[in-house]
């Protein structure tokens, strides 16, 4: 941008900052799907799916629940 605006330091409004201990929870669905020894097995099978496949599909649910919890816990109270 040729004309970058410099926002005047206005009054610091009480704003929900991103800093929240809940955010650390988001590292769970980032790290767990990367631990291959956890799921690199054929048995037990579930509906014919080897563990490798059904457990990783289950991690999707893990991801959804963590992001949902963190969102609910960190959103602005209105």
């Amino acid at each position: 941008m040729s004309d970058p605006e410099t926002p005047a330091p206005g009054p610091t409004v009480a704003r929900a900052k991103d800093k929240s201990a809940w955010n650390w929870l988001l590292f769970v669905p980032i790290v767990v799907p990367l631990i291959t020894p956890l799921f690199n097995n054929d048995s037990p099978r579930l509906f014919g799916f080897p563990t490798f496949y059904w457990l990783q599909l289950l991690f999707i649910v893990l991801g959804v629940s963590t992001t949902t919890v963190v969102y609910q816990m960190t959103k602005k109270r209105r």
């Binding site: 941008m1 040729s2 970058p4 605006e5 410099t6 926002p7 330091p9 206005g10 610091t12 704003r15 929900a16 900052k17 991103d18 955010n23 988001l26 590292f27 669905p29 980032i30 799907p33 990367l34 291959t36 690199n40 097995n41 054929d42 099978r45 509906f47 014919g48 799916f49 080897p50 490798f52 496949y53 990783q56 599909l57 991690f59 999707i60 893990l62 991801g63 959804v64 963590t66 992001t67 949902t68 963190v70 969102y71 959103k75």
Partner: protein
Amino acid sequence: MGDHVTEIVIFSVLFLLVSGMGFVAARWRAPNDMAHLDEWGLGGRSFGGWITWFLVGGDLYTAYTFVAVPALLFGAGAAGFFAVPYTIIIYPLVFLVLVRLWSVSHRHGFVTPADFVRSRFQSPTLALLIAITGIVATMPYIALQLVGIEAVLKTMGVTGDSAIARHLPIIIAFAILAAYTYQSGLRAPALIAFVKDTLIYIVILVAIIYLPYKLGGWGSIFDAADAKFDASPNPNDGILLTAANQWQYITLALGSALALFLYPHSLTGVLASKNRDVIKRNMSALPAYSLLLGLIALLGFMAIAAGVKPLPGAKEGSVDSNTVVPLLFDQQFPSWFTGIAFAAIGIGALVPAAIMSIAAANLFTRNIYKEYLKRDASPAQEANVSKITSLVVKVGAVACIVFLDPQFSIDLQLIGGVIILQTLPAVALGIYTRWFHRGGLIAGWVAGMGLGTWMLYQVPNAATGRAHFGGSAFSLDKFGFDTKTTVYVGLVAVAVNLAVAALATLALRAGKVPDGGDDTVQDDYFADEGDPRVSVPAQPTSTDPDLDPAPSPKV
């Protein structure tokens, strides 16, 4: 092509239908003044939960993904399933990082990641590098969408003898796409994404219920795949990971996730949403697509169980493994349903291709045209330049497919993922810290690009008999380690990039080399919709409440 008439007719009808939607989209949620880059390129920055879900979903899960991921499982087994962890870890990452980028972009009117870098580090040079990296990485990605359509056309038997006749359907499809993107901007893919995803969900739901039933159940599908890999001479395939490719699996999943949200087109979808809550809620809802992708990936094993033989490739003796999913559908489904499935893949290519060309055009306009060619460009001129650039980008993508070996686009896409990762220190870390010296970031970028390209050059591919650019799995023994372990090139390159950027920062600080200032303040990273200091001038004047019920349902 006589026995494919039903498929071709259904494919064409659906294709024309969405093309019509693309043109009408210009009037959907229309602003008073379309001649502004925020309107054409970001849909007025006004999209709510549902539109964002379809738009970002349609953007990240491309036709090529739907064709190539199952092809990977078909060929190599478990290693191809990396797409699932990859699309799981991307959402928490976006939740943490891109929400802040949305805020600062909203406050300052940024349209591209390079805009942000320009202000954050006050360095037009660094911004130019980021913009060029983005454009170079996106171009082959657009070309790859054509590979997805081509796999479908090939299966339907729509091929000619000469190069022009063979590519004519694709040229026509892309000409239509170019025309409505030119007219409607980001609104076109946003509207079409509804149709695309509905079709894909229907096709996949039917496929995962009907095909296992026909093929003897999931257990026997996995057993058929296991038997195939046991019989193959390749030691690294199989329905589980081997000792040698586990690290490749981990680093590829992580590296791809980091790369994906650095791609300019992902950012376009995120910036088009109207507030922080829309993005955060979407990070919980978008994994529905990951489930879809995981199931689509397994189509590769179904193709093994069904005994699908891929069609021959462009070169003598090679096979085009991208045709396995279209062939599976063609072989197992009644032809009317195959037509719908093919249309889903074809339309699936249009949405991301449109968003990517818009993202690349925005980069050119904001960070090259406005920075170096015409500093006082008005918003209307910016929108106009972007529209024309989006046409040029698409012509380039078609030329890639028509005149070059499609394999070349696949190689470029491979390189694209590695090079876009090199913008991580400036863009993703830049959102959190201004610690890096702008010169240090440039040095890191150069190091990461150099190393990444060299490593890719060293990777052979046994299956195609190529000595270079054979994949992204780099064997660590090339570094002198005594191991068979392979890792993803991009992650190694970005680690070196970071190390160099950090060391150079220390050196430049020690040498008292002037570092630019910072046009952003801490508070900018938390701004939300309705912030009094937000500099976005164009607000939509009419919204369609039926299509965007806000707030969208909680997930």
